[in-house]
């Protein structure tokens, strides 16, 4: 076993991660339609709703702040039609 590994029992942490996974899946499944509206923008997703968008991270953060939405409660994604090669 890896010495860095330990098991915890924190339901809240698990729920947050499962929610993030569901939001990622939703973005992936709706990428085409999201792209039509938000190409080259950052979006913030909560559940199955796009709650903010912005042309830059600063712009997105301003909008989330204005709406009183905690950035840590949403999944953010940059929407582009370009293929990502790292």
């Amino acid at each position: 076993m890896c010495p860095a590994l330990e098991v915890t029992d924190d339901d809240l942490e698990v729920r947050m991660l499962l929610r993030a996974n569901a939001e990622l899946n939703w973005i992936s499944g709706h990428y085409g339609e999201i792209l039509k509206k938000f190409e080259n923008q950052f979006i913030a997703v909560s559940g199955t709703n796009i709650v903010a968008n912005g042309s830059s991270i600063d712009n997105l953060l301003s909008k989330l702040n204005a709406e009183g939405i905690d950035i840590k409660s949403v999944t953010t994604e940059y929407i582009t039609k370009l293929v990502r090669i790292l």
Partner: protein
């Protein structure tokens, strides 16, 4: 008797509008110095040794990246960035049975644009957070990806 293996599911998702162009991603929670717990999504990139919190995720979570020492400079995608060494962080992942597991990472980095122009900042913002080979090396996790059957997981 065979020991039970720990399996942490990860996702294969569309990278853009063409759902045949896919990437392997994983959501996790990280306890960051000066910031607290954040919830970034990482692209799993075995072409990179470095594991790094993106400039965008650092900004989103209010991490002042310039506080941390520059380890090296490189190109990621089209962006010219400084790679900055973070202090040891704790990463939480959830296994297939819903049990959370925490891993300590000493080689975890963040990044910022090496050149201060608006264009370079814009390029750097579009780079995702990356889990590279250093993550597999430090955690001992093995990566399994079966593109044909849309299955991916870490295993220990």
């Amino acid at each position: 008797m065979k020991a039970l293996k720990l399996r942490i599911p990860i996702q294969i998702v569309a990278d853009n509008e063409n759902d045949k162009e896919l990437q392997v991603v994983v959501s996790c929670r990280i306890n960051l110095p000066h910031v607290g717990v954040i919830r970034p999504t990482f692209v799993v990139d075995t072409g990179s040794h470095i594991s790094s919190l993106s400039y965008a995720d650092a900004k989103i979570n209010g991490l002042l990246v310039t506080h941390f020492p520059i380890k090296t400079s490189t190109h990621i995608g089209a962006a010219d960035v400084n790679i900055r060494q973070l202090p040891e962080v704790r990463v939480l992942l959830v296994d297939a049975t819903g049990v959370p597991h925490r891993f300590s990472l000493k080689q975890f980095c963040t990044e910022d644009p090496r050149v201060g122009s608006e264009l370079e900042h814009r390029k750097a913002e579009t780079i995702p957070s990356i889990l590279g080979l250093s993550f597999l090396e430090e955690t001992g996790l093995r990566l399994h990806v079966d593109m044909k059957n849309n299955s991916a997981y870490f295993e220990l």
